[in-house]
């Protein structure tokens, strides 16, 4: 009904919900990798091309260009008109879209299986023959600015999140919004988009993932035919970027029209090494901790702050152990109940962490997380799209898709002591970043009333 070019894929559900069986892989001569997973339940195929280029690779003054290029990829090639490929895919009964994240940009089609070559041919064409004209760019950049207004500027919680990221990451590019700052969008030119395309859209920087009712060897043959001849070029060496250690808490207030206050707080947190080994113990402890605090109706935050004490209207926690940029955050967010101040709510959230340091977590809680993950693995087998997402994300971020196979084993190994260890090590006040939403009346002439304020 509606269609979106997705910018954020921040909380991508249990990314691991599927132990993979039978992913086959080849690398083409130009360096492009092709991964195929067969699933013959339904006569459909999902095809995705992933580029290892996202907002992580942008520089100041040109934020948002990765996402703008994603939009321009629909605007024609040397032999096709703007929008023509969308028509071709639609006339083949297909669904298509694309999304940009901090770590990657990806393009996908879902098709009846016999139509798969159409999408491969199209992706190969726009990988090498994209045409970006000034005229098309000028129209599309307005669309992107509308997208930013819709996604962020008129959504107070999205603004809080943008501010939060820019505070917790002051040096690392994860501090910049994926959609880009409005000023950068206003000053972006079509040459900026072309420059980005010429920097990152080499086949050697791309991964094709196909799943569904397909024959692996046939997909490989088609991949060689369509993508194999595209010439690769050298991708600029990426410099390692790390956030300097935070020494002292960071606090900010965001004012926006609304009724309810809200807080987002968090701490820098480790990520899994690309070898699948480095930081393993800590990141899995954090994964389990998130499962215990949030995610289901019986999780601690919900149980203790919403249900038992009615201190909050809504609560949640989030963490991702995977990241191409080598940085992650552990976050909690909450909307206070009417008579609770944001200052007290922050204390209550911290108390939940302290309570685990003092008393640990129970075996029942640990087992609950395991049960959910085990069942989740089975449930995700119902989705071909989910399989492609998982493989593509892992590989683009620099991990092997095979680490999914041992995910559950690592979850099972986590102990109460491991969890206490990561809380003690990472979650202290000098590493805290917190943003408070201070709701303002819609009518600017009215004075905010009746609600507890940020200070």
């Amino acid at each position: 009904m509606n269609f979106l070019k997705i910018v954020f894929l921040f909380c991508l559900m249990p990314i691991f919900a599927q132990a993979d069986i039978g992913v086959k892989e080849i690398t083409l001569k130009n360096g492009m990798r092709v991964l195929v997973k067969e699933d013959h339940r339904s006569p459909v195929a999902v095809s995705m091309v992933w580029y290892r280029a996202g907002s992580l690779d942008e520089v100041n003054g040109k934020t948002g260009v990765a996402h703008v290029l994603e939009h321009m990829m629909f605007k024609g090639t040397k032999t096709t008109k703007p929008g023509e490929y969308s028509e071709i895919i639609a006339a083949a009964g297909g669904r298509e879209n694309a999304f940009t994240g901090a770590d990657y940009t990806a393009y996908f089609q879902r098709l009846e299986k016999s139509k798969l070559p159409i999408s491969m041919k199209m992706e190969a064409d726009r990988m090498q023959n994209l045409v970006i004209t000034e005229e098309e760019f000028k129209k599309e950049i307005n669309v992107v600015m509308e997208e930013r207004r819709w996604r962020t500027d008129d959504k107070p919680k999205a603004q809080v999140n943008e501010l939060f990221n820019s505070l917790i990451f002051r040096a690392h590019p994860y501090g910049r919004p994926i959609v880009g700052w409005m000023n950068d969008l206003e000053n972006m030119t079509y040459e900026d988009a072309i420059e980005w395309y010429k920097m990152w859209y080499s086949p050697s920087n791309a991964i094709l993932v196909v799943a569904g009712d397909v024959d692996t060897e046939e997909v490989f043959a088609k991949a060689r035919k369509y993508f194999g001849k595209i010439s690769a070029y050298q991708i600029a060496k990426r410099k390692p970027q790390f956030e300097p250690k935070q020494n002292g808490s960071r606090r900010a207030i965001l004012k926006a029209p609304g009724k309810l206050p809200y807080i987002q707080m968090g701490y820098p947190a480790p990520t899994l090494g690309k070898d699948g080994i480095k930081n393993k113990k800590e990141v899995f402890a954090l994964e389990v901790l998130v499962g215990i605090l949030s995610g289901t109706s019986s999780s601690r935050l919900n149980q203790n702050l919403v249900r038992k004490t009615s201190r909050a209207i809504d609560v949640g926690a989030g963490y991702s152990m995977l990241s191409r940029g080598g940085q992650s955050t552990f976050e909690m967010y909450a909307t206070p109940s009417e008579k609770v101040s944001v200052v007290d709510l922050e204390k209550y959230l911290k108390l939940e962490l302290k309570n685990i340091i003092d008393n640990g977590v129970t075996d029942i809680e640990l087992n609950r997380v395991i049960t959910s993950v085990v069942a989740g693995e089975v449930y995700q087998k119902d989705s071909v799209f989910g399989a492609v997402m998982q493989i593509g994300q892992l590989e683009t971020m620099g991990y092997s898709h095979k680490i999914a196979d041992v995910y559950i084993d690592n979850i099972k190994k986590v102990t109460s002591k491991d969890i206490q260890g990561v809380i003690k090590k990472y979650f202290h006040d000098d590493a805290l970043t917190i943003v408070t939403l201070d709701p303002q009346p819609l009518d600017k002439n009215k004075i905010p009333k009746g609600r507890p304020h940020a200070r």
């Binding site: 269609f3 006569p43 639609a90 083949a92 009964g93 297909g94 008129d154 009724k259 909307t335 009417e338």
Partner: protein
């Protein structure tokens, strides 16, 4: 046996590729519940969806929100098991219970591993048959409703949506916000929920859909077990008729960056013979994502909006035909004129032969994508079950689409879509720029 059984096998043939089979079995319980079953042992999963005709259309203006709150509180404790224990029991089985709610229906879905299906189904049955309606929980959830409603009253999209439904439905219950109003929620009592449950959760207004790794015998037992916990009431209130006479222009100021525009009128109900024709036509007008005329004219050619769409949302009675977009404030007048022009041109001339061909290719060629997972089969069959679609709906879908002509689309739009009666809601428009 208590069940009268009709077994229907639906074969779907596609013109240019392999045939796919979706075997939908259907029967009715002796107290009138309709049960649909798709057996599939590829994955060790069972999915169940249960829908009651107990959506917000059953609310009254004075107690707006009772229907939603009933649906919401039902999963928070049942059969004397408290909220926390119930949630934990589902989680310890690895089972997922979700509730859904809209104007027409109140729904509950369960996803479970087949090896845990007996225990999980027992819990689901308890939720459906014996909700606790605990007073303390009701009071707590009422406060959460009030907070979230008062928050949504500050959000431009939510304000626009509420005003649009009010403009289209006036005193009809479809105008009532799904979750009620701050003042009405505050007045709702435990007794209200209980009474609502008793009079609206009825076996003859219940549809049950079962998909996945379970035998026919077990599916029959399950259908029975659920339906027998409800009483039948053939005198249950019918959904009131929609009486829409003329459009309104509503402008609401808001400090947002974008103005939100909604435009449309109530047009068709479920089962309307024009539905597929309008649906296919609307794909060309504004339903077909990147390739629709609205997207082409508003977004691709002018860069005026990120998202612009149109859809028919048929309910039991006439549901809205709705066009929506968001755009920078000072552009909303221009965008609105373009929308009007696009719609009126389409109504006047209908689709081009090329557009019609492409739309049919999309519908027919993409048909397998609608049913490529158990979850999607569950959703599709649940819709058919609730709205009593004919059982050959899927079987004949592509054939019917294929036969629709450009002239029929034009005629259907001309007969049914009267722009002179459309309502317009703009939230966040600039006051001084009044057009039209």
């Amino acid at each position: 046996m208590l069940v009268k059984t009709i077994l229907i096998t639906i074969l779907i043939f596609f013109s240019n590729f392999s045939s796919a089979t979706l075997n939908i079995q259907h029967w009715e319980s002796n107290n009138g519940a309709r049960i649909y079953f798709v057996e599939n042992h590829d994955l060790p999963i069972v999915d169940i969806n249960v829908d009651f005709r107990a959506g917000s259309v059953k609310d009254t203006k004075q107690k707006s929100g009772v229907a939603s709150l009933t649906n919401h509180v039902m999963v928070l404790g049942a059969g004397g098991i408290n909220e926390e224990d119930l949630a934990n029991q589902f989680i310890d089985l690895g089972a997922q219970l979700n509730s859904s709610f809209d104007q027409d229906k109140s729904g509950f879905s369960l996803r479970t591993l087949s090896e845990k299906k007996i225990e999980a189904i027992d819990l689901l049955t308890l939720v459906l048959h014996k909700p606790n309606f605990d007073s303390k929980i009701i009071e707590r959830e009422k406060k959460r409703y009030v907070a979230s409603i008062s928050q949504s009253e500050t959000m431009p999209g939510a304000i626009a949506s509420k005003a649009f439904m009010k403009a289209l439905y006036g005193e009809h219950p479809y105008a009532l916000p799904n979750s009620g109003e701050v003042e009405t929620i505050k007045k709702i009592s435990k007794k209200d929920l209980h009474d609502f449950y008793k009079s609206n959760y009825l076996s003859n207004e219940l549809s049950i859909v079962i998909v996945g790794d379970i035998s026919r015998k077990d599916a029959e037992d399950l259908g029975h077990k659920i339906s027998l916990g409800f009483s039948e009431n053939k005198m249950a209130s019918a959904t009131p008729l929609v009486d829409y006479k003329k459009g309104q222009e509503i402008k609401i100021s808001h400090p947002s960056k974008q103005a939100h525009l909604y435009y449309g009128a109530p047009i068709i109900k479920r089962g309307d013979p024009d539905f597929l024709t309008l649906y296919l036509g609307n794909y060309i007008l504004g339903g077909g994502g990147f390739v629709s005329r609205l997207t082409q004219n508003i977004r691709e050619d002018r860069g005026l909006a990120y998202s612009v769409y149109s859809y028919f949302m048929p309910f039991i009675q006439e549901g809205p035909f709705q066009i929506g977009l968001q755009t920078k404030k000072n552009q909303v007048g221009e965008a609105k004129e373009l929308v009007k022009k696009t719609v009126s041109t389409f109504i006047k001339n209908g689709p081009t032969p090329k557009e019609l061909r492409q739309a049919k290719d999309y519908m027919i060629g993409g048909f397998p994508l609608r049913l490529d997972s158990n979850k999607k089969i569950l959703e599709y069959v649940s819709m058919m079950a609730f709205y009593k679609y004919p059982l050959d709906y899927l079987e004949t879908f592509t054939d019917k689409i294929n036969k629709i002509t450009a002239e029929e689309i034009k005629s259907a739009f001309q007969r049914r879509v009267d722009m002179s009666k459309f309502s317009t809601v703009i939230v966040g428009s600039e006051q001084q720029k009044k057009r039209s």
